[in-house]
Amino acid sequence: MYRRVRRSARPLPPRDLPRTTIGVLLALLLVALSRPAAAQGPERGTLAGTVVDDSTGAPIPRVTVQVVGTTRGMLTDERGGFVIRDVAAGAHTVRARILSHRPRDVAVVVVAGVTITTTIRLVAAPVTLGAVRTRARPPERDRFELAPNVGTVTLTPGAMSGVPAIGEPDVLRTVQLLPGVNARNDFSSGYNVRGGESDQNLILLDGFPIYNPFHLGGLFSTFLEETVGEIELLTGGFGVRHGSRLSSVLDVRSADPARPGLHGTAGISVIASSLSIGSASRNGRSSWMLSGRRTYADKLVSALSDRTFPYHFSDAQLHAARAIGSGNARVELTAYAGADQLDGDFTQLGDSSRAGGGTFDFDWSNQVVGLSLTDVWHDGARLPLLGRADSVGAEQRVSFTRFATALDLGAGALALTNSVHELRAAGAVHWHRGGHERRLGYELSSYDIAYDVGSPSTGNQLFDLRQRPTAQAAYYQESWRPTRRLLGEAGLRAEHVTGRGWSGLSPRVSAKWFATPELAVSAAAGQYAQWLHSLNREDIPVRVFDFWVASDEFVEVSRATHFVLGVERWLGPLRFARVEGWYKRYEHLLEQNTADDPARRGDEFLDARGTSYGFDVLLRQLEAGPFSGWLSYTYALSQRTEGGTGYWPGHDRRHNVNLVGTWRAGRYTFGARMGVASGTPFTDIVGQVVRRAYDASTHDYGTGGFAGEREPLGGLRNAERYPLFQRLDLSVSRAGTWRGMTLVPYVSLVNAYNARNVFIYTFDYTRNPPTREASSQFPLLPSLGLTIGF
C-alpha cells in the first residue's frame, strides 16, 4: 500500500507505543514526538553526499545510490543529494546509477558515529534500454501500483524547467498544459479543471491553503520555481482528505535541500530577478530554503527616463524542516508573502494633457504561514479500536492564510477592499497493516471575510459585508488491497459550516483493478462541497482580481458530484498512457448578479446548476534520459442553467491539445510546447446604446456638453465561439560552469510563429457598415535570462 513517508524509511529499534485508553478521536491530537534515541550504535555511521554531472557539475536528481552488498540505498533528491544512515563502519563501495549516465562505483570508508560526505561525479552516456534494473522507481509508478490515483498528475521541477515560458518557468502556466486543465487565454494563470469554474480549485502550499496565487492580474503565479519540489494535481474524484472546493486540488510542495553548505540559485529574466539560498545540516536532520523575487521594470524605467512604470510585484518564501528526536518525527515551517502594487498617477502617464490627473492604487497581497508536525512509528503498534498495526503515523498542521485586495481611485473618491483570513488546524492519524490503511482526520477553519465599497471622500458607504464563519470537517478513509489485482479506497467526509448552518456528508470511493501488472482500470465517484465563492464573473475573460465571500444565510453552499472511469497502461519503466472519462454534476453554482441591489443582502448571486463531461488522454515520458514530456488531449463539454435559461459557460472548450517536450543533449536543453485548442464561447455584441443622463436641477439631458456614453449591447449569452487557438513555444538553455558556479543562460520564444489568437472582439456600430476588430493574445514574445547555481 502506498504510504506518504516524508523521509526514506530507516530501521528503528523495537519499542512499544505508549498505550492509551483514550478513544480514536484523541489520537488525532496525539503528537508524541519524543522517543528513545535512534539505534545508531558505535558500529555504524552515515554516508551523505551529492551526485553531479561530471562535465557540468550540475546536481542530478533521482540517481539510485546504493551501498553495495547491503540493503542501504536511496534516490537522490532534486539537488542530487542523498543521506544513507545506519551503514556499518568500514570500507564500502557506493554505486550510483541512472539511465542517462554511466554507473559509477566509489570507494568510501564509513566511520562509526560520523557522517561521511562524498561527491560522486557521473559521466553522461547514451540511454540503453534493456536489462537495466533499478531498485527505485519514479513516484508515478508507485502511485500506479499502490493507489487508485484517479485524475492524478505529478510534476517535478525537471518537468517544469523544460517548458518554455516568459521569463522563468511558472508553476501554474505548466499546470495549464496538463490534461483536464483549461486556460481561458494567455493572460490568465487561472485555470478551469474538467469544466469547473476557476474558483473551484483548492491550491495548497505544503498543504496550507493559498488564495489567488497570481501576479500581474493572472500573468504569473506566486510560486517561485526554485522553491518547488513537487506538484501534485488532482483533477477529479479525489479522496476525503481535501474539502472546501468542487473541482480540483493543486498541492505545491517545497523543495527540501539535502546538500550541506550554503548553496542556491540566482535568476535574472526579463520579468524579475530572484534569489534562492538554502542548506542542509551535515547529519541530514535539518534543512532550510529562503527565496525572494522582485520585478524591476519600474526601477529600470525610473532610472532611464523621467517616466514611471506603476507596477511591480515581489515574493518571499521560507521553508525549513527539522527532524526531532531520533525517529521519524519532523517539524516543518512554510511561510510565504507576496504583494503586487499597481500605484500610479495619471499625471505621469501619457502627455501633459493629463496634468491634474489623480492617483490610483491597486494592491493585492498574499501571506501564508504554516507549521506541521509529522511522525511515523514503524514497529508493532496497537491502537484502541484499530488493533495491531505495522506502522502508525500522525500529522498535525496549523496555518494562517491571508489574501487582501485594495483599490483606491482618486485618493479616496472610490475605494474597494476585500480580504480573506483563514486560520486552519488540521490533523490525521493513519494506521497501516499489510495492504490496509485507515486514516482518521479533521479540519477546522475559521474565516474572517470583509468586503467594503465606499467613497471615503464623501463619507458614503456603498456596500459593507463582514463574515466570520467557521468550518469543521472530519473524515474517515479506508484503503485496502483485498487481492493483488484490486485496490480500493472509500471514505466519508462530514462537514459543517456556520453562517449558513449547513452540514453535509460527502462520500467518496475509488478503485483500481489490474488486468496485468502494466494495465489497470480505475474508477471513482464522490461528492464535494464549497462554501467560499469568488464574485468574479466567468464570462469576463480578464480576471483582474477575485472578491471572496462565504456562504451564509443568503448564499448557498455549492455542491458537485464526480464520476470518473479510466484506463492506464505503462509502456515501459518511464512511459505511460492514460485515458479518463468523467462526468460532473453541479448544484447551487453561484454567479455574480449584475443587478444586485447594494442595499439588499441576499441578491449578490444567482443560483445556477450545470454539468460537465468529457475525457482526458495523457501520454507521458517521464524525466529520465534525454527526452521527456507529454501529450495531452481533453474533450470537454460544459453546460449551465440559470433561471431556466441554458448557456455555455465562458470556459467551455471542446478540444484542447498540448504537446510538451524536453530534449537534453549534453549541455543543451531544448524545450517546446505546441498547443491547439478550439475556441471558448463569447457573447456577440449586436449594437450600441447611448446612455443619456437626466439632470433634475436643469431639467435637461446631457448637460455640460457630455451627452452620454456609448455602451455595447450583448446578444445571446455565449452563443458565439472564438476561432481556433494555436501557439508554439520554444526554448533552449545551455549549462556551463564558471568558478564553481553553474551558469545556465536561456532563451525562449513564446508564440514562435506569431499566431494571431483572438483575445476579444471590439465592435463599432457607429459607422456603416459596422466593423469588428480582434485584440490578440500573446504576440511573439522573446525572452532571455540567466540562472546561476552556486
Binding site: A355, S457, T594, Y694, G708, I760, T762
Partner: protein
C-alpha cells in the same frame, strides 16, 4: 457605481494587455432596438421623452458636434425616431406628447425629443404632474414597436435652483448639503457639474459633505471635481428605483450586459427625479504661484477672442494643470471656464463653452515672459500678448 468602476478597470486592463489589434472586418448590420429615456420631473411642466434607436451600423453617426440640449439625440451621437406616439398615463388621465422643434431647424427636422406637458395653462388643459403616484409610459414607433414602463414620482416639492452663489475655496471649505427623507425615493443622487464631466454618486443618507479635494472617478484621469475659476452647480435629486437601477448599472465591455432595464419592449429608462437641494459655488483656491496666477488682460491680438482671464495653477508640478475663467467681453460680465496645462515652460490654455472640457472655443499656446504671456491662438495668424495685472491677492 462600484461595478461601473470595476468595469472601467476591466476595460483599462483590456487595453493594457491586448495592445495588438488585427483583422478588422465588416459585420452585418443588426436589427435596431428602441431606446427610450424618460424621467418624470415635477420641477418642470414639460416632461422630456427621448426616443431613439440603438446604434446598429445602419448609418454613420456624426461625431464631434457641439451638444445642444434642445437636440440631445442628434448632437449626442444618436439616431432619433420621429413620428412616435408618446403618452403618459396617470390617475388624472393620459397626456399625449409632441415632438419638440429645434431652434433654427425646419419643422420637418427629426429630433426624437418629445415633450409631454403637464399642468399647462387652459389652452392645453393638461392635468398637473402629481407626486407620490404611479404613471405609465407608452411609446409606439411608426414601425409598430411598442415600449412601456411605469414609475412613481417621489413625494417631495422640488427645490428650484436659486440665484445665490457662494464662493468656495476648495483648499479650506467643504460643501455640505442636507435634506429630509423622501417617500417613494429609492435613493438620492448627488451631482456636481464639472468641466470633466458630471460627478455622480448615489447615497441613501440624507446628507453629504464634499471636500474641496474630491476626485471624480468618472473622469478619464481622475481629475478633481471642483476646479478653480468655474461656477459649479451642486445638486441633490430624489430618484425612484428605476432611475437608481438604470444609472447605477452599466453594460460591461466584454459581454454587453449589465444594464438594469425596467422597460418592456425596449431599452432605457422611465423613472422619476426630483431636485431637492441645489447650490452654486464659484470655486477658488489659495495662491500657489502668485507670479503666474491672477488676472491677465489682452494686449495685442489680431482678433478679440478673449479679453480677460483669471488663471489658477490648479495642480502644481510638472506638468502643471491650469484653470480659471475668462471673459470674451469685459463689458457684458459673462464668464466662461478655462483649463490648460504647463509643461517645460510651454503653456496651453483651452477656452471652453458651456464649461465643458469637450467644448473648446479657442486654444492658446505660448510661454510666460515676466508679466507677459506671448503666443498664438490655434488657427489664427498673428501674435497674441496678454499682460498680467498687478497683484490682486
Amino acid at each position: 457605481m462600484a461595478r461601473a468602476s470595476l468595469a472601467r478597470l476591466g476595460a483599462i486592463a483590456l487595453c493594457v494587455v491586448a495592445a495588438c489589434t488585427f483583422d478588422q472586418q465588416s459585420v452585418a448590420v443588426q436589427p435596431p432596438q428602441v431606446v427610450v429615456h424618460a424621467v418624470l420631473d415635477p420641477g418642470t411642466q414639460e416632461q422630456q421623452v427621448l426616443v431613439e434607436r440603438t446604434l446598429s451600423g445602419a448609418v454613420d453617426i456624426r461625431k464631434g458636434q457641439r451638444f445642444d440640449p434642445e437636440d440631445p439625440i442628434n448632437t449626442g451621437g444618436g439616431i432619433p425616431i420621429s413620428g412616435a406616439q408618446v403618452t403618459i398615463s396617470g390617475p388624472d388621465g393620459t397626456v399625449t406628447g409632441f415632438e419638440a422643434p429645434v431652434t433654427g431647424r425646419p419643422s420637418t427636422y427629426s429630433s426624437g425629443r418629445y415633450l409631454v406637458v403637464f399642468g399647462a395653462g387652459a389652452a392645453f388643459a393638461s392635468p398637473p404632474l402629481r407626486r407620490g403616484v404611479r404613471y405609465q409610459l407608452r411609446v409606439r414607433t411608426p414601425d409598430g414597436a411598442e415600449v412601456t414602463g411605469s414609475t412613481v414620482v417621489p413625494d417631495i416639492v422640488p427645490v428650484v435652483g436659486g440665484s445665490r452663489v457662494d464662493v468656495f475655496n476648495r483648499d479650506r471649505d467643504s460643501v455640505r448639503l442636507t435634506w429630509r427623507s423622501v417617500t417613494a425615493a429609492r435613493s438620492y443622487l448627488v451631482r456636481i457639474e464639472s468641466p470633466y464631466g458630471a460627478f455622480l454618486q448615489f447615497t441613501d443618507s440624507t446628507n453629504v459633505t464634499l471636500d474641496g479635494d474630491l476626485r471624480n472617478y468618472f473622469a478619464s484621469s481622475l481629475e478633481r471635481v471642483f476646479i478653480p475659476g468655474f461656477r459649479q452647480r451642486v445638486s441633490v435629486a430624489a430618484v425612484d428605483s428605476n432611475y437608481f437601477d438604470y444609472y447605477r448599472s452599466r453594460n460591461d465591455p466584454f459581454t454587453g450586459s449589465g444594464i438594469i432595464n425596467n422597460l418592456e419592449g425596449g431599452i432605457g429608462l422611465f423613472g422619476a427625479a426630483v431636485n431637492i437641494a441645489a447650490r452654486s459655488v464659484d470655486v477658488v483656491q489659495d495662491p500657489r504661484e502668485p507670479a503666474f496666477e491672477g488676472l491677465w488682460d489682452i494686449a495685442v491680438t489680431p482678433r478679440s477672442v478673449v479679453e480677460t482671464f483669471r488663471l489658477y495653477v490648479e495642480t502644481p508640478g510638472e506638468p502643471a494643470a491650469l484653470s480659471g475663467w475668462y471673459a470674451r467681453n469685459r463689458a457684458n460680465g459673462v464668464l466662461e471656464g478655462m483649463i490648460g496645462n504647463r509643461s517645460k515652460g510651454r503653456i496651453v490654455l483651452e477656452f471652453l463653452a458651456n464649461q465643458a472640457a469637450v467644448d473648446t472655443v479657442a486654444v492658446f499656446s505660448g510661454e510666460q515672459r515676466g508679466d507677459s504671456l506671448i503666443g498664438t491662438f490655434t488657427g489664427v495668424t498673428g501674435r497674441v500678448v496678454f499682460l498680467k495685472r498687478r497683484s490682486q491677492f
